[in-house]
């Protein structure tokens, strides 16, 4: 064989090609999700909505009566119980969520380290590493999304508690 024709094989391994295509797709999806998230926020509408409802709520309060009233201890007790319920449930769910994120992150690192296989070509090994990292990225993204959703629920729970507490304790016109 002529030495001039002994060129190194420059073709890409099909596994590596597939892994790179997947990486491209995952990044594209991730960007699309970020754009969606950006579109989801309408701060002006949110502000006006809450402001209007807030004003309406307080316009129904008998402020004169507020300073002269005595609160029912049972009401106070029930408000405190609800508050403790929100606090303990938030703490429990946040802890679970953090633990899951930590476990998945550690698993991601150890999976990446075991991706190399003896006897496989460098391209195949690179494909395996890319795929393991993408698996980890997708899992962590899921965990982070779940955590964001949980934070939203926690915020709602505190806001709902505040409103129901005011409803129970403020006298109405």
């Amino acid at each position: 064989m002529n030495a001039l024709t002994q060129m190194p094989d420059l073709s890409m391994d099909k596994d590596l090609k597939a892994a790179l295509e997947r990486a491209n797709q995952v990044m594209k999806t991730s960007m699309e999700e970020m754009n969606l998230l950006k579109n989801a926020f309408n701060p002006m509408q949110t502000f006006v909505q809450i402001n209007e409802q807030f004003m309406q709520f307080f316009s129904k309060t008998d402020w004169m009566g507020f300073f002269s009233q005595k609160n029912d201890p049972a009401n106070i007790q029930s408000c405190m119980t609800d508050f403790l319920d929100v606090q303990s449930t938030s703490f429990k769910k946040l802890t679970e969520s953090q633990q899951k994120l930590l476990i998945d992150s550690v698993k991601d690192i150890s999976d990446s380290m075991t991706a190399f296989k003896a006897g496989a070509s460098p391209q195949q090994n690179l494909a395996a590493v890319i795929n393991k990292n993408l698996d980890g990225f997708e899992q962590i993204q899921k965990d982070v999304n779940a955590q964001a959703s949980l934070m939203g629920s926690i915020q709602t729970a505190y806001v709902a508690w505040l409103q129901s507490t005011l409803e129970k304790t403020l006298p109405k016109k």
Binding site: N39, F57, G152
Partner: protein, 351 residues
């Protein structure tokens, strides 16, 4: 290519194999002289919220509703100190605690106020109605905390406890359940959100809402009609698809049939899962055997104007993005008025 076009092509190539045909050019929704005193509705998830809305708003013509994993009417108005979308996602689906779920006493009171103002029909129409409620044990999208409040809401409005069938003992995910169609695992929550749980849910719903129904037909006839939904849409941000579907049993061509409206959930319109919801959930077999017209309105994803990326029905106000107090819940709401116009067309006398 839209799935529906693909179906049309496949159907024309293999005409004998297709259970139904879909028109390339959608027809006008026909007048069928359906009875307007016994209309019922059912839906899953956002379709369940929408079913509640249609039912309460038009209670004068309605006699019952089937709610699969959905919160009470006006749920997105639960807590004043939050925006509608925050309520919809934080309180109406998977709330942290029981006390941060739907604010049912407030919602019942708001409903009465809307009825007094004439924005919705009188709630006295609800008294002799029937309600079917379902929440899968493995449903973490809309939880039992929310469904319990839906149940309580209907009781608060005066519906008899015995008239409500509330099912919570099936290990199902967030899905409509069937005897053999859809995801093979009953407890999963994934597309097409139709799960094989060995339960004929469409039959259970309709049997509860209309007592004394005949057994479903073994096969459905070629009776699904794609129609032009755009003629009923009067504003630009509804996210409603150009086409929707109606199933017309042979015995309903001359008029006098009952009408049931079926709402799909998020990511379940025909642009997302083809004909799986309107052909695979088993409603049409019951329609055939009992002369009930089935109306399947359709909504599709929209990433901007309006922001509805998952193609959900509007239960928090996306269809009026420029209003601080969007109307998604009254007779004048964009989606509700469009579907009411479809009902009115179906009720017109047969030509």
């Amino acid at each position: 290519m839209k799935p529906i076009q693909a179906i049309a092509i496949v159907c024309s190539a293999h005409l004998l194999l297709c259970a139904h045909t879909v028109n390339a050019q959608p027809d006008k929704l026909p007048a069928l002289g359906v009875k307007l005193n016994d209309v019922t509705v059912s839906g899953l998830s956002s379709g369940a919220f929408m079913a509640s809305q249609l039912y309460i708003v038009n209670s004068q013509i309605m006699s019952g509703a089937g709610i699969i994993a959905g919160g009470p009417y006006l749920c997105a108005l639960s807590w004043d100190f939050q925006s509608h979308v925050q309520n919809a996602t934080g309180s109406c689906m998977n709330p942290l605690t029981h006390s941060s779920g739907p604010n049912t006493p407030h919602l019942s009171s708001l409903t009465r106020q809307l009825a007094e103002k004439g924005d919705i029909d009188s709630i006295t129409n609800l008294v002799d109605d029937k309600i079917y409620l379902f929440n899968g044990k493995a449903d973490h999208t809309v939880t039992t905390t929310v469904m319990d409040q839906t149940y309580q809401y209907f009781l608060d409005l005066g519906i008899n406890k015995d008239a409500i069938e509330y099912v919570t003992d099936v290990d199902a995910g967030h899905a409509i359940v069937t005897t053999s169609f859809g995801n093979k695992e009953c407890a999963v929550t994934e597309k097409p959100f139709i799960n094989d749980c060995d339960i004929y849910q469409a039959k259970d719903i309709l049997n509860h809402l209309y007592s004394g129904l005949s057994e479903p037909a073994a096969d459905v006839a070629q009776a699904i009609v794609e129609f032009d939904q755009t003629e009923f849409i009067k504003s630009g941000n509804t996210s409603m698809s150009d086409s929707a579907f109606v199933y017309i049993p042979e015995g309903c061509r001359e008029g006098g049939c009952r009408l049931h409206i079926v709402y799909h959930g998020c990511l379940q319109g025909y642009t997302e899962i083809g004909d799986q919801y309107y052909m695979g959930t088993g409603y049409n077999q019951i329609a055939d055997a009992n002369d009930i017209v089935m109306l399947y309105p359709q909504v599709e994803p929209s990433s901007k104007d309006p922001f509805n990326p998952q193609g959900c029905w509007d239960f928090w106000g996306y269809s009026q993005p420029n209003k601080s107090e969007p109307d998604f819940y009254s007779k004048h709401a964009p989606q509700l008025s469009a579907v009411r116009a479809m009902i009115d067309r179906l009720a017109e006398p047969v030509n």
